[in-house]
Symmetry: D2
């Protein structure tokens, strides 16, 4: 009889269960537990108060979906060994391990290296501690394993990461636009010539998925008030650094980089900001009070760039871009019963290439409320 | 045309809307915004990772239910003026304002006064700032207003507080046992002789509500792992105080009490605990690491008291009590079509007085894992 | 105190409530009750077994949405009298009254007149019975009332009919692709120059609505197995008529037309079909057994017409057409804060005119299974 | 690669999938397809308009749960062969096959034999047609197979039948009181000494299940308006028989009994009732109009018997009984980690034996509306 751990999760009928001892060990690792203190959507909770959910819950949710996807593929006759299953599960479980406080917003500010690289460094360190138990997971994550489709389950247009975060973000924000038929898509997954594909019957679900992602992008991920809040946070970090260059700065070259980086999370940044409300510097304390008390700047969105706007701590401009579906990236392929395999843009009656390629670019400009 | 603010909330179909300018002002108050940083269920997220939701979202949810309840009562012919409506809404909106970090757990530790008193002090202070706009809300909250049922909507066996938190905690934990037919109960509310009652047709929904509360109590609020975590938190605060008596101590008699108390939230406590992992004191640093990395003590539950257990920072015992329905408290009354009004324990075929009065007492004992 | 009737409805949180005595009378009318025996989606339950829901529940659901929409508009300052409210509610409540057995499939077969005309005839008859209580409802339904937006709530690109049926069909089929943010759309409704419009903030919800409709069209309404079943049903009725020209034939010119037509519903047709399985005619009995036991013909879909296919009872071809959004029809207008009012195709970044205008035409061909 | 059929089901995330060719054959059998025309809850749709769901969907839903339960047990080390899995699945799939029109209401009227016996007769007949493919299913269904727990999955206090119908009836009626944590209960199932038991952690879920069943009993299954409608239906069948003793009468001893019985479903009864509205017999035609147009008699419920009430077609009395948990029936056993196995009434702090044994008896009396 296997030891089984139930992990409660409101997104998938209340819970998921884990019984692999290696996976359970990784979940108990302090670096994994730290992700309980990093919110999945950063400051988005200032607009969607329910969006307090963490990377910890997202990574477990993605693990859950990976388990289902592997079961489906095996049932369809795709050969996947137990070791490969564990590897794919560990790869998705750890795929966001390298995120720091307020993930995307502060990514380029706190440390010069993208979070994927930090994730890999952390995986390698844990692998040493666990005597190579993550070898295959690292290969799959880095896309050096010969079965390419396993990497695609971790990172591609239709990976378990995207499937989980769309559903999860939709659940916690309450934005029904993001509801994706996750189960249905997973049931339609297949492998053809070592590529992850979707069975013909799944076309509508994939269409829905692409469109949901686009709507979530504008309604949640690029919500203008969230962008305004992000700008304030960036302004705070920038100003704090000007006053003290060592603040929240992490050097990937330092020998204790990972240990130091693993010490900080959302809470540290928020507590620092609350303290800085009492700073001697009027710029810093004004920005901090603005974020803590949620007196955010006004923000305007336009399809043409703003001109003549100052760029100080209280004013600024920027660009937002989205494309539903990235052709430079891996394509979503549809497998027909007769064996043909075509891209979704060809298979879909709704979504032609022109629609999918359409990149929406918007410009924003923020400034104190009441001004202009 | 009234200004209307949409507040997103996944619990109630995605959003609620507010158009009263006084209510909007109160929501924007820094003390209200601070409740974004205080989790509704403290350390429960260590067992239910989705339970990151805040008192902020609970208080807004309770406001939403209050609006619906008042509409129902007015439609049934209960006289409620616009001023009384606003008063009842403000009273429920602010009913948890006095909570501090990790609410219930740390309540008696951080400050000697129950949170209801701090709430009242804060309401009075805001009332001064708003030139008496909260006068009626304070009367209703304190139960000094002559229409008693308005207070009962804020605080009684069937108030909007309980209705919201049961549904909300159920949503974010994923424990379906707590799902309450909120809409149905509210539709069945009525007033009889200045008492909040439930129409005859609502008996089943009230039964469900009482039972759900009981199940949530044991499955979530008194979950043994949560209690273990709470004991560690209490141990940490106790030890930190022994080493430095001023740590997180708030004196209600101090003139700046409210301002100082309003500065702290969950984040401050967590950041302090993370720092104390590097303390010179081995007890403090062991306890802190245990909480941060979630290496919690073992905990056992029994229907008889544990004897001969040491009571130091790593071992201890305690008592848990629950009664579904408190007869000392206000009763839930059922109004029949023929005008009779009887207590739910009489009206219900399922829940007799004996069941409802039954108090479940359990004893717990915690100790380091592995130690017998 | 108003009399209030609770009508249970799983789609909208369990129930809706009605308190207008005229509306309650209409709901109790035998012609309205008859719609309990006419399924909303005809033979769709052969593919989606949950889709047994009736026109009765749809018409009540649309009534519910109408009530919410009118409340929202009144709160935004749109002038709508109590009489107009009742009229709009009655108009939507009765908008499908003229449907007969297997609604759309058999529409042109059983009677030569479209169901909208029968609806109007029935409304007029009930109006006589109720001494003109439906006068305004009939004006609004027929679009002869001077406040045009009231008709648009009943019938337009964004009417309460579509909003209810998309959500309801999605609920009962389990196809999450059809989930529409109904509440959010309704909250965003407004009136501008006597036209029903959507506030700027509702753009994303409208995009989601248009796309959901399109996906539901192909995934449910035009599901190929449903079309195959419809073809069998049409074949049965055609063959039965050839054998006995009076079968299920209704003449709108006959004086007792409405009374006779109101006698039949889905059950009568199904029972007849079950009897005809024992017919002497081999064509009729084969077709009937095929429908009753669900041995449906094979069906193929293509983007080009099928040629050289016989057209007898067991073989045939046809065309399917869909366009997301009909420009010939009323447009969905978006109202900006600055007072501008533009069509959704202009307002939306996602849905340009070309996408919206795109008409998808598909051809189908059915034949006995196994036959190539 | 296995052939896989997706069956859409809104209750379980939209669909379930079946890949066993024997099971697929049974689903395609005309007797199984006939259950598409028999509503799960008979006339309940007159109170809960969404409750149009069929025995067909219930039997498929129970099959789905059986699949999950068997997976869980196998993962916990319970030995179950592939043949036993198929047998248990077929047994639950067919467990309601013998139901006739309006199931429970008309059970004793149409045929003298309980539906379980007809189910068995039908299973045996299909077994002959399928060369013994149902041998083991019949053994498990009849409780003659040596592994007793397999029968308990089909029929016991905690079988897949009850788990599916509570969740399904709750879904389609919209009565949230019936929501059961189905997944959680199934995850907690185990086998101990050849008995189906529940792991210790599942106690709360079982408590919720027992209470939900009780609430559903009174709120849905014994809803007084449904009982009133049932009485009218029984009156109609009784009167029709008096006028023509052969009406809807089925003799289990007749050689063509099964074939004749399998011809009728809800539709036949409803169509007959609609015709009888034009009967020469005033009693029959009044009763029929009352049911068709939903002019139901008044009904009163009391905890003491009604006396002096006439018992004709329009008046009558009766008794309703419910007990949450039947001790005469199999008990629900809880398995502790230390190996002890005790009854839920002992294991539960909430539900003591007295509560569980409590039988609620109510009396009803119906009569024409307006008559005192």
């Amino acid at each position: 009889m296997t030891k089984r751990k139930i992990i409660n999760d409101p997104v998938y009928d209340g819970f998921l269960s884990v019984d692999d001892p290696v996976i359970l060990s990784v979940i108990e690792h302090p670096w994994f537990q730290r992700q309980r203190r990093i919110k999945q959507l950063g400051l988005t909770y200032l607009v969607y108060p329910g969006a307090m959910h963490t990377r910890f819950s997202h990574m477990l949710g993605a693990l859950n979906l990976m388990g289902r996807a592997l079961d489906v593929l095996k049932q369809k006759g795709v050969e996947i060994s137990d070791e490969e299953c564990r590897g794919a599960k560990l790869a998705i479980l750890l795929h966001d391990l390298g995120h720091g406080p307020f993930s995307h917003t502060s990514e380029r500010v706190l440390v010069d290296v993208p979070h994927e690289e930090i994730t890999l460094l952390m995986m390698q360190r844990i692998n040493e501690q666990m005597d190579g138990a993550l070898d295959m997971a690292i290969d799959i994550f880095s896309n050096t394993y010969h079965k390419h489709f396993l990497h695609q389950l971790v990172s591609s247009q239709l990976d378990m990461d995207r499937l989980d975060y769309l559903g999860r973000d939709s659940f916690f924000t309450g934005v029904s636009e993001g509801i994706v038929g996750t189960d249905r898509i997973i049931t339609m997954l297949n492998v053809h010539d070592d590529e992850l594909v979707v069975d013909e019957k799944g076309i509508y679900s994939v269409e829905k998925f692409i469109i949901s992602r686009r709507l979530m992008y504008w309604q949640v991920y690029m919500h203008k008030t969230v962008i305004a809040a992000d700008q304030v946070l960036l302004g705070i970090l920038r100003r704090a650094r000007e006053l003290d260059p060592t603040v929240f700065r992490f050097d990937p070259a330092a020998p204790d980089f990972l240990d130091r980086f693993a010490e900080v999370d959302d809470d540290d940044v928020m507590v620092a900001i609350k303290h800085w409300r009492h700073s001697d510097d009027p710029i810093l304390r004004t920005l901090c009070a603005s974020l803590v008390d949620r007196h955010l700047p006004a923000i305007r969105i336009s399809s043409t760039p703003f001109e003549g706007v100052e760029n100080d701590y209280f004013h600024g401009t920027g660009v937002l871009r989205n494309r539903s579906y990235d052709f430079a990236d891996q394509e979503i392929k549809v497998l027909y019963k007769d064996g043909r395999c075509v891209d979704i843009s060809e298979a879909s009656d709704q979504l032609d290439r022109r629609f999918l390629e359409k990149q929406v670019t918007k410009y924003f400009c923020f400034h104190p409320k009441g001004e202009i």
